[in-house]
Amino acid sequence: MRLAFILSEIGSGLRRNLSMVISVILVTFISLTFVGAAGLLQLQINQMKGYWYDRVQVAVFLCVENSTSPSCAAGPVTEEQRDTIRGMLESEAFTPYVASVEYESQDEALGHFKDQFANSPIVDSVTADQLPESFRVNLVDPEKYEVINEAFSSLPGVDVVSDQRELLEKVFSVMNRASLGALLVAGVMTVCAILLIATTIRLSAFSRRRETGIMRLVGASKAVIQLPFILEGVIAAVVGALLASGALWGMSRFVIGGWLAREYPETAFISDQQVVLLVPALILLGALLAGVSSLLTLRRYVKV
């Protein structure tokens, strides 16, 4: 009986404040979408880190005919220089840092280049002697790139030491900033949502002040008096959270899965299933948002 009564109170409350309820839904929808977008970006960053950090290498490029760096002043790398560099990389001094070394000759470099730019007309004009030969070094700890750089970059015959991870870091830092931006917007929208929920409950409490007054007089418990207000806010926020979840799922499915994944097949993207993991978190967050703000409001506006 009491449950049925509370439910009918909630129903009438939602109907009476329909426009406010809709605005609460929309604001929580937007704010939680941004929260979720930040979450997705972080998931994506982790995904990419996991994938790429195992594969990134430090490349020690050797001098070719037209290299410009000072260590290449003597012209293309000589047999002797190459052996020295290989010897150093495989020496005892570097075993704590170097996991493995591969040599890539100019012909192999051309092969890789052709694979990578298969669709580009530039391929036909590139010849093997334009591309540098290189040592591909897998590091034990990818953070220790500086050690290799210091030791090898000024060695005769070495053109440049390049850390592929540096490139990735740039990408990650852009993504991190984007996710920070999303969180910032989410924060502002969340404040909006809290205030709006508080206002909605105030209005609702005002329009039902006769009922609550009588409920107090006849000895209704605090729960019976306040629960309808709290649940009204929570229901609206949860609907908003569901909409946000839907939007994020759509985004991952059609934007990431349908478009980005097709455009960049070699990149590991997050899947729809991972997005689904965010849904309970968003719903919980929405419910918490509404619950806390309504508790605070009720303390002031609905005397028990």
Binding site: M1, R2, F5, G213, I214, L217, V218, G219, A220, V304
Partner: protein
């Protein structure tokens, strides 16, 4: 049933107290008129019994319990034992007579079956048989007050507090209301009625407690109402 021991209530430190060291006892099944000009402390008395406010000094006992010692989560239980009626009826305008009375039972979790059985019974007690489905605005003032009384007693409280229940009604209608209250009283409910309607007090010949400026100035077992001008002249 209700006992005030040296109760003082100060709302605002700068003005005089609303109740000033009031001691008063109302027994079970008694009918007491609380009379006095507006501002004499009648409504404060009622608020203190309901624990809507707490006494600044002294102790208020309701059904043997010091209300100051009731924790806030038990206050609803205290209020279930007390029915209240006001001058302005306070009915829910969008609910029928039946629904208004049933509301008081729904919110404390009574089952539908009990409500269906009890509400018509109580409506009969207050003389509103057959008006179950009327809306409040279709009723006369006296009938609306009867609905309010029905709502106040539907959970069978031991105490009925009435704050100027006839204040908005004409003398004939008022007498009808008094008959209802008298009947409720004779069923064992303690009734405390704040009023300044001298006709009613004089006709009923019940106990009269007069308050003036927050103090009890008279307590007659079968009293009459002494008009304000007379009282001032005394």
């Amino acid at each position: 049933m209700i006992r005030f021991e040296n109760v003082t209530k100060v709302y605002d430190a700068t003005s005089r107290p609303a109740l000033d060291s009031v001691s008063l006892e109302v027994d079970r099944s008694e009918f007491v008129f609380l009379v006095g000009a507006s501002g004499s402390g009648k409504s404060t008395f009622i608020r203190l019994v309901l624990k809507e406010d707490s006494a600044s000094r002294g102790a208020v006992y309701v059904a043997g319990q010091n209300v100051a010692n009731i924790p806030s989560w038990r206050v609803p239980r205290l209020r279930r034992g007390i029915g209240v009626v006001f001058q302005d009826f306070r009915l829910l305008p969008n609910k029928t007579v039946f629904a208004n009375v049933a509301f008081a039972m729904q919110v404390i979790g009574k089952s539908r079956a009990v409500i269906r059985e009890t509400v018509p019974e109580v409506l009969k007690t207050v003389g509103l048989e057959g008006k179950n489905n009327r809306m409040p605005h279709e009723l006369s003032g006296g009938e609306q007050q009867r609905v309010a009384i029905a709502r106040a007693i539907v959970n069978r409280p031991g105490i009925l507090l009435a704050d100027e229940p006839t204040g908005n009604l004409d003398p004939t209608t008022s007498m009808g209301i008094m008959k209802v209250l008298d009947r409720i009283n004779s069923n064992g409910t303690t009734v405390v009625m704040a009023t300044h309607d001298d006709d009613i007090v004089n006709t009923m010949r019940k106990r009269v407690v007069e308050l003036r400026n927050g103090a009890v100035v008279r307590d007659d077992a079968q009293g009459i109402y002494i008009g304000e001008t007379e009282a001032v002249a005394e």
